[in-house]
């Protein structure tokens, strides 16, 4: 039982990274932009998140406000990268898949290069402490799993219904959904399609960057070149798996983090088993899940991946 509780609590505290990145990608895709550069944005976020507390504290403890600052800066950097991607794919209408690969290489490479320059070798920072909720965290099992997380994790889970509200109950969400499904109609109703896509990209990439920041500040307490380890790509896959809906994306994020946690969990049990096979598991799962996710979806943004050009009639 203890083992299961440990696995589940690990899942709850670590799925934040996938969840936020995936929700960010959901906003991009709802607006019709397929951002495969998520991985690169996350790497930059992770680097920024690590840089600020490290520079201030040189590895020692620092005030929580510096962490707040690192999340703000990470969000800002993410938004900038999103806008850069917008210039390339929205304004100049470059093919989004290959441009995303470019952004991924650029982001991962830049984060690593800057890290070498400004931090140097492997350095660690204290992670954001857990915040046990009074009373609730005392409930057997449940408390351990759900109410003993850090503040970022709580906020991220609260963000799931908020994302739903944004998407379905605000004018901005209405615009996002319209420009991803029928940009021409949105255009004829006086909605600036490209601007809306830029906004979605900035917002979505800010979320991806925050997710990277979570990895370095709350989960690992360090930065390394390979720390994102494909989470950005899994996040993109999760959006399909979750049918562009925040709640289903949450389910997917939990499932995949559970698969990732298995590796740590089984190793901690001391069972001798080639750990590579466990590390492989989430990636295999992505391929399997993508194979069985239906592609004929009424909720899918129909113009996903297609640039908008008012002057070319189709």
């Amino acid at each position: 039982m203890n083992f299961v509780v440990q696995l589940l609590s690990m899942t709850m505290s670590f799925s934040v990274a996938l969840l936020l990145a995936s929700l960010g990608e959901m906003f991009n895709q709802r607006a019709g932009v397929f951002n495969l550069g998520c991985e690169g944005v996350m790497a930059m976020g992770a680097f920024v998140g690590m840089l600020i507390p490290f520079t201030i504290g040189q590895g020692g403890a620092v005030s929580m406000w510096w962490y707040v600052l690192s999340y703000v800066v990470a969000a800002f950097v993410g938004a900038l990268l999103g806008l850069l991607f917008g210039v390339i794919t929205v304004t100049f209408r470059a093919p989004q898949g290959i441009a995303g690969i470019g952004l991924q290489m650029f982001g991962v490479g830049l984060a690593g290069a800057l890290f070498r320059t400004f931090v140097g070798g492997t350095q660690s920072i204290p992670t954001i402490p857990k915040l046990a909720i009074p009373l609730l965290s005392k409930i057997t099992y449940i408390g351990e799993i759900f109410f003993n997380l850090n503040i970022v994790a709580y906020l991220s889970y609260i963000f799931v219904p908020v994302a739903w509200l944004i998407l379905f109950k605000t004018p901005w969400g209405l615009k996002i959904r319209a420009v991803g499904t029928h940009p021409r109609a949105a255009d004829s109703m006086g909605i600036n399609v490209n601007r809306t896509r830029y906004e979605a990209l900035a917002f979505g990439s800010a979320l991806a960057s925050i997710s990277g920041c979570f990895l370095s500040t709350a989960q690992a307490g360090l930065f390394s070149d390979t720390m994102i380890a494909g989470r950005g790509f899994i996040a993109v896959a999760l959006v399909y798996f979750g049918h562009w809906h925040p709640l289903q994306i949450l389910g997917g994020a939990l499932l995949f983090t559970f698969a990732q946690s298995l590796q740590t969990g089984i190793q901690s049990l001391g069972i001798s088993f080639p750990y590579e096979l466990l590390v492989m598991l989430p990636y295999v799962l992505v391929v399997v899940v993508l194979s069985f996710t239906s592609r004929n979806d009424t909720m899918a943004p129909a113009q996903l991946g297609k640039p908008f050009n008012r002057e070319i009639r189709t």
């Binding site: 690969i101 290489m105 490479g109 690593g112 070149d225 494909g230 096979l277 492989m280 295999v284």
Partner: protein, 374 residues
């Protein structure tokens, strides 16, 4: 200026501008990481050209780049983007080493071809999977190939740690030195191996395949307009799967030449980012075999240059990824600007306005006035 000559000038200016922008961004990043920009550029781009020793090191890196990129080109032209070169190459290495270790004692003219064939099949298998998943289940190859890269990397590490590990290696994850019956011979006294000749021959073969055969015609049709190709009786699913399998085979072969020609034992990090770089080289080479050859040389140069700059100037080795990322972003953008006839026409018109003679302007004004009076 006639319309055609304007078109050429327009495209040339976009290309020049793109190169300048790519250099400028790279320079900014170099400056941020604290390098002397001019020195760094000299060391990365020019110094490797100053001696035979350097040039052969560059060529050594250009060989796998070229082979991987040729494969990427076949797939891309057939409508499937293969960013799984890294994993396919790893599978090639695993298969090559497996045959090399398991069948020691065979004569070179049997052992080497067998090992290479195994590498080709290993890579092809890793290309076939995303191909068939895309063709039958519409799984995005961009995601599946990346996932397969991670899976292959784990298999690679598993093999190195267990069945392939050299018992005399003191626990280092590497195989023992392979028998000389799987070595690719070197050219003269240089470290360059016959893989270079393979790469050049393959470039010609790819060109013949894609533009002179009906198979190439069908693959290109599937890539340029899948719906029309299907309508025209071309089995798009088959040709797409075939194309990425061939693409994977190329990457597997690249793995074989790296082991048989350079390392001669399986060690960690053989794939060394060649899989991703191959995509950049293919794009930079205009997705054409004869463009890929110089492109591979250029990025081999870059890889070697940055490596030297890393050890001698302290520039982070990740600069290679940064430059490759910038290259992709700039190329795809520049291509769109070049093919944007609307933008082209607008620029032409506005330039035209600037250089109209006074008389022409008066005429236009007069016409306008008469029209208004009507």
């Amino acid at each position: 200026m006639t319309e055609n000559s304007f078109k050429i000038v327009y495209k040339l200016s976009v290309a020049v501008l793109a190169v300048l922008i790519a250099i400028a961004i790279s320079a900014i990043v170099l400056a941020v990481v604290g390098a002397n920009v001019l020195d760094a550029f000299y060391m990365i781009v020019f110094q490797p050209l100053t001696s035979i020793g350097h040039i052969s090191e560059v060529l050594l890196r250009a060989i796998p780049l070229c082979i991987v990129a040729l494969g990427v080109c076949i797939a891309y032209r057939s409508g499937i983007i293969n960013i799984g070169g890294e994993g396919q190459m790893a599978m090639g290495v695993i298969a090559f080493t497996g045959v090399a270790l398991a069948m020691e004692g065979l004569p070179i003219f049997i052992h080497l071809p067998l090992a290479i064939l195994a590498a080709i099949l290993g890579g092809a298998l890793w290309g076939f999977i995303p191909g068939i998943l895309k063709a039958k289940l519409k799984v995005s190859e961009l995601l599946s190939t990346v996932m397969l890269n991670y899976i292959a990397a784990q298999l690679y590490s598993l093999c190195l740690r267990t069945i392939y590990m050299d018992p005399a290696g003191g626990g280092t994850p590497m195989s023992k030195r392979l028998s000389s019956s799987v070595f690719l011979s070197r050219i003269g006294r240089t470290p360059i191996h016959v893989g270079l000749i393979f790469a050049l021959i393959l470039a010609v073969l790819v060109w013949l395949l894609m533009w002179k055969t009906t198979l190439g015609y069908k693959m290109r049709a599937a890539g340029s307009g899948a719906r029309a190709a299907r309508y025209g009786g071309i089995n798009v699913a088959f040709y797409v799967t075939l194309a990425i399998s061939i693409s994977g085979a190329f990457a597997g072969l690249a793995g074989a030449v790296e082991i048989g020609g350079v390392h001669r034992r399986m060690i960690e990090g053989v794939t060394n980012g060649y899989g991703f770089a191959g995509v950049v080289v293919a794009l930079f080479g205009g997705l054409h075999p004869f463009g890929i050859i110089p492109a591979a040389f250029f990025f081999g140069l870059m890889k070697y240059g940055v490596m030297r700059a890393a050890s001698q100037m302290g520039i982070p080795a990740n600069m290679v990824d940064v430059i490759q990322g910038i290259t992709i972003l700039v190329i795809v953008t520049a291509q769109m600007i070049m093919s944007n006839t609307y933008l082209q026409a607008r620029i032409r018109r506005n330039l035209g306005k600037l250089i109209l003679t006074k008389k022409e302007r008066e005429e236009i004004a007069q016409n306008r006035a008469e029209g208004g009076a009507k």
